[in-house]
Structure formats: C-alpha cells, structure tokens
C-alpha cells in the first residue's frame, strides 16, 4: 500500500512538472505557430480563466448565484485606470497636474480590498436571505456600476463616461516594464509573452488558493451550505459569515483580474463590463463544472476562444453560402451560451469535466441501486 501511495505522489509530481514545462513553452509555441495575435487572445483567455476561478468560489463552492460578477472586475479595472493614468489631471488639475501614477504593486492589493469590501457591502444585507435575492441584487449592482461609469464624467470628470479612460500605464514590476520587449537570462521576451507569464502567476495563485480552501474546513463548510443550508447551520456553521467570506473572496479575485486587465489593455470603458460578460463568466463555470477547478479552467479556455473561432468560421461560411452576413458572430455566441446553460443544467448538471467525486456519483447513478 505505501508503495502504491508513493507511486501516486511521484506520478502526480511528474505530471505537475510536465504541465509547468508546457505552460512555460506555450507562449513561444503559440507565437511561433499561430502568430502574435493569437497569443494576445490567449492572454485574454488567461484573464477570463482567473475570473471564472474567482466566480467558482462563489457559485461552485458556496452555491451562491452572482450575476453581476463583472462589476467587481470593473471596480478593479477602474481602480488601476484612475490611479495609473493621466486621466485625473482633467478633474483635479491643481491636485494632480500629471494625473496619478501609482505602482501596480500598490494598486493591486488596494483594488482587491476595495472590490472585496464592495462585495461585503452588497452581500451583507442579501446573504441572510434566500439565494435568489443575491442573484437579483448582483444583477442590479452590475447594471448600477455601469450607469455610474457611464455618467460620472460630469460635473466632475471621474470616469470619462462612455469614452472610457485611455493611456493607462503599463504594468511594471521592479522597474521592468511589461510593455516592452525584455531580455531575461539571454531570452528575448516580447510584451505579450511577459503578460502571459504574469497572468500565469496570478492564475496559478488563484488555483492554489482555491485548491487549498477546497480541501479545508472552510471549503467543507461552503459545500455544506451549498448542499443544505439548514442542515449546515444545525452543524454550527455560521452560514451568513461563510457565505459573505466566499462572496468577498470571489469579489477580491475579480478585482485583481480587473487590475491586470486595465494594465494589459491600457484602456477601459464601460462597454467591457456589460451583463453579457457576467453571463459569459458564469457560463464558463457552469459549463466546465461547478466546483471543479480543472473543469472551470477548461470552461474558461473554451469560451474565451469560442468567439475567435466563430469569427474565423461563421463569417466566411455565411459569406460563402449566402454572400452576406445574416447572423453576426457576437449574437450567435450569446445564443449558444444561453442554449448551453439550459442544456448543461438539464442534462449534465456537473458540467463537462466534473470533479472525481461527481464523476463517481454520475457513474453510480447509472448502476442499478444495490440497496433497493
């Protein structure tokens, strides 16, 4: 037995090293084979995966439906956009003649705290009630944040309204700007490569934290709440506080992703934070497999790449068939998302890649009941 156990650990370790090697080489492979544009898409996909992993804590572990998750992403993005761009010079020329240019490493934790704090403010009144209310309140919150982003350009120009904020400082860490090609240990790393590695680090961090929490007392309490809230409270679990914790952690993680997004894109506008984005992230979690980290990563990857694939297939196909575009890929994508949400819930509620326990449960359901 101990030998088998050790072999298992050894096998897992080997798999991890292999995975790390693949991820390290990935940007060069994508860049070399598909081109730099695709690597940029992969970078964005990494951001979406981080978002999906953050939402997974809320939806997958604690079973809370958050429909305005993108709002926390927006909070993080605007946080960085305002504190690392010339924009505030417009509103407060005396105070900040050149705008504000804080370091990424200072803004990041602040944005996480701010987003988490907003999560607490929003969750505190709602989480003691039934789960449906949270869904509606978060839905409304997502919309409100957008209204404010769109309108806080007058009388004091805070957000620059629908035009958004541009000329955001690129992320630079320890004097190393990620917007320029850098040579590290004799390897030439273009900007998109650098961002890939940065996002990889943060995605890895979220995965690590999720995994540790999942197998802990806290994670078990979340799952207990998800399965049966009343039974959970009878077990002495303070359901309200633990739900709040999950909600705040998800929000903070969304804030971090938002900060990275703003730094990477150099430009933010309310358009990037519509309800549809929230739905898309939710889709990633549900489709991949609620509560299963690898499933969620798969879901994130699939759905982040899907629009690109659609753009490259649906448009030419329609052109060839009908000579014009009948269905634009954007609405086709949303239509597919909606249908996917319904179908997955009806026929495969554990998602495309369920966790091992779930998988066992699915297979055991197929067996005739032994006890009957």
């Amino acid at each position: 037995m101990p030998n088998a156990h050790e072999a298992g650990i050894f096998k897992r370790q080997r798999r991890r090293i292999l995975l790390a090697a693949i991820l390290l080489v990935l940007p060069f492979a994508v860049d070399g084979i598909l081109g730099r544009g695709w690597l940029r898409i992969v970078d964005f996909a990494m951001l979406y995966i981080m978002l999906a992993l953050g939402l997974n804590i809320v939806v997958g572990y604690a079973g809370l439906l958050d429909l305005g998750y993108i709002a926390f992403f927006a909070v993080g993005a605007y946080c960085y956009a305002l504190s690392a761009s010339p924009h505030l010079a417009l509103a407060f020329p005396q105070l900040f003649p050149d705008g504000v240019h804080l370091s990424f490493l200072i803004v990041l934790p602040a944005a996480a705290l701010l987003a988490g704090g907003m999560g607490v403010l929003l969750g505190a009144p709602t989480l003691k009630l039934r789960g449906d209310y949270l869904a509606i309140v978060t839905l409304g919150f997502g919309e409100i944040i957008r209204i404010f982003m769109n309108n806080l350009n007058a009388p004091v120009n805070l957000t620059n309204g629908p035009q958004g904020i541009s000329r955001i400082d690129p992320i630079s860490i320890a004097g190393l700007s990620l917007n320029a090609t850098q040579r590290i240990f004799g390897i030439t790393l273009p900007s998109v490569h650098l961002y890939f590695y940065l996002f990889l680090c943060f995605a890895g961090l979220v995965v690590f934290v999720s995994q540790r929490l999942e197998k802990s007392r806290i994670g078990r309490a979340w799952m207990a709440i998800r399965e049966d809230e009343i039974a959970a409270s009878a077990m002495g679990i303070n359901t309200r506080n633990l739900k709040l914790l999950a909600f705040a952690m998800g929000a903070a993680s969304g804030g971090i992703s938002g900060t990275l997004f703003a730094g990477f894109q150099g430009f933010v506008s309310p358009e990037s934070f519509s309800l549809m984005e929230s739905v898309m992230v939710l889709c990633m979690v549900v489709l991949g497999g609620m509560g299963h980290i690898y499933g969620v990563i798969l879901g994130g990857l699939l759905l982040a790449l899907l629009p690109e694939l659609l753009r490259h297939s649906v448009l030419p196909m329609q052109q060839a068939l009908f000579g014009k575009t009948i269905i634009d890929p954007e609405s086709l994508r949303m239509l597919l998302f909606g249908i996917a949400l319904i179908l997955v819930m009806l026929y495969r509620p554990a998602g495309l890649w369920p966790s091992r326990v779930r998988r066992r449960e699915l297979s055991s359901d197929e067996r005739p009941d032994e006890t009957a």
């Binding site: 429909l67 009144p125 009630l129 449906d132 609405s331 086709l332 239509l335 319904i342 009806l346 509620p349």
Partner: protein, 305 residues
C-alpha cells in the same frame, strides 16, 4: 407644484406597467418559490410581436389592427410562458435551487438574442394609430395613451383578483401556493396549475410590453432586462408572493422613480441628474432587503425553511 403633479402622473403610468409585470413574478414565486428571470424577456417579446403584427396589418383600420395585434402578442406570450416552464423549469423542480436559476438566465439570454436576430439591434418605433390627445389637469398633462394604460392596468388587476379569489382555478392556484403536496393529494393537478400560472403571468407581460412601447413609442430587443429588474423590485417591495403587494409595489416604485428622477438634481445640488433614474429601483431593492425583507404586505420570508 405643477411639476410635482406631472411627476405623480408619470409615476402612476410607469407604475401601472411595473405592477402588471410584477404580478407575473409574484404569481410564479408564490406557486413555485422560483424567480422567473426570463419574465422581463417575455414582456419584450410581447412588445416586439405586437409591433410586427401592427406593421403587417398596416392597411387595416387601427380599431381592428390594434386589438388583433394585442391578442396575437398575448397568445404568443402565453405559449412562450408555457414553453419556458415546460422546457427550463419543470424538469428541475426537485433539483438544487441553483439549477432553475441558471436555466432561467439561459432562457433570458436566448430570448434576448433571438429577438436581436429577428428584429435587429435598432430601436423600432411604435406607430401612432390614434390621435393622442393631451389633457390638462391642474397644470399637468396626461395623454390618451397614458390614460388608457392606467385604466387597462387597473381593469386587468381587478380581473386577476376575481379569477384568483372567485373561481375554481383560482382556488386550485391558492391551494398549490399554500402546500403543493397537500394540493396534489386533494386532487389538484399541480402541473396544470403551474402551466396556467405561467400563461396568465405571460399574458399580463404581453399587455405590459405593448403598453410600454406605445407609451414611449419605442421597442427594442434589450428593453426587457431593465424592466424585468424593476418589476421584480416592485414585487419584492410589495412582498413577493403577494398579489396585492405586487400591485402596490409597482405603483409605489413608479412614483419613487419618477419623483426621484424629477428631484435628484435639486437634492444633489446638480451633481446627479435624471440619467440616474435607474439607480432608484436598485436603492429601493437594497433598502427593502435590509429593513423589511418580507416587503410591505408579505409574510416573513427569511424564516421559511
């Protein structure tokens, strides 16, 4: 004072629409304990279908084409409501709570994007069929359409109350709302009652959709989202699951919104203007959830297991 009265009138008109839509939320919630997220999209579908019907019947006299298109929209939405329940909710009636919420979102997205594919991204203008006379009342103005909306909404609400409290069907609905299991044992066909509830709610939604687009002269594939959100707020404000509550909540929310948008400039010293109108519904929602989660006329919800 004239502005005040005008805002009251606008609020009442808008509130009547909210009330009709809120009834749909509250009926379904009362019976299934489920928030039908797709309800706002049913409103939108009602508006769009009636609009298309009107443009198809452009040659007919408005006295024929308007009722016909309204009827068509109602019939279509009833079918839609029935279908939504059968496909997305019924198979999940005993699934974990999260499941029907997610399918509801799915349905909502599908309807919205289907509408966009069919009718495009543009705003559609609602044809003016009758001369829309404006009436002066103590300095404020109310026009024919607004008058018709308020009257029709009140008539429909009265009709609904009659159905629920005076008919066999209504008794069955109340029985299912009270205790589904017991109702079933008493021989009530629960599935039928649920289907009928969805259809009634959708019929009200269709009428509301026509009202909104007639009032603003516009219809749009995205109009259901915010309207649904606000109507839901109205239902919560009145006490979700409670029919009278939905009506009261709808009217109140309409008034709050209208007065709020009218005076927000004065209140904030010009810092915020009427573009923040949509924020009020949300603030009301949060405030209700903090201070009186059961709503104005509802029973305590938090304790119900």
């Amino acid at each position: 004072m004239e502005i005040f009265l005008q805002q009251i009138i606008n609020g009442l008109v808008q509130g009547s629409v909210y009330a009709l839509v809120a009834l749909g939320y509250t009926m379904v919630y009362g019976i299934l304990g489920l928030i039908n997220f797709a309800h706002g999209e049913v409103v939108m579908m009602g508006a769009m279908v009636s609009l298309s019907a009107l443009s198809l019947m452009a040659g007919l006299p408005p006295l024929v084409s308007l009722p016909l298109s309204l009827l068509l929209a109602v019939a279509f939405c009833m079918l839609l409501g029935y279908g939504i329940e059968r496909i997305a909710y019924r198979p999940l009636r005993h699934a974990p709570r999260l499941a029907p919420l997610i399918t509801a979102i799915g349905v909502s997205i599908v309807l919205q994007n289907l509408a966009m594919l069919i009718w495009g991204r543009d705003y559609h203008s609602f044809p003016q069929l009758f001369a829309n006379h404006a009436h002066r009342m103590a300095g404020a103005i109310i026009n024919d359409i607004q008058l018709a909306i308020v009257v029709a909404a009140f008539l429909m609400m009265a009709g609904l109350m009659l159905v629920v409290h005076r008919t066999r069907l209504g008794r069955a609905m109340r029985a299912v709302a009270e205790n589904q299991h017991a109702a079933q044992l008493m021989g009530v066909d629960v599935n039928r009652v649920v289907s009928v509830t969805f259809m009634m709610g959708s019929a009200l939604a269709a009428v509301a959709g026509v009202m909104v687009s007639a009032n603003y002269g516009l219809a749009h594939y995205y109009m259901g989202f915010l309207l649904g959100l606000k109507a839901f707020t109205a239902a919560v404000l009145g006490g979700i699951g409670n029919l009278r509550g939905a009506m009261l909540g709808g009217l109140l929310l309409g008034l709050i919104e209208s007065l709020g948008a009218g005076y927000i400039g004065d209140i904030t010293g010009g810092f915020m203007g009427s573009q923040y109108q949509d924020v009020f519904a949300f603030l009301v929602l949060i405030a209700v959830l903090i201070f009186r989660p059961s709503g104005l006329l509802g029973e305590r919800l938090a304790e119900r297991a």
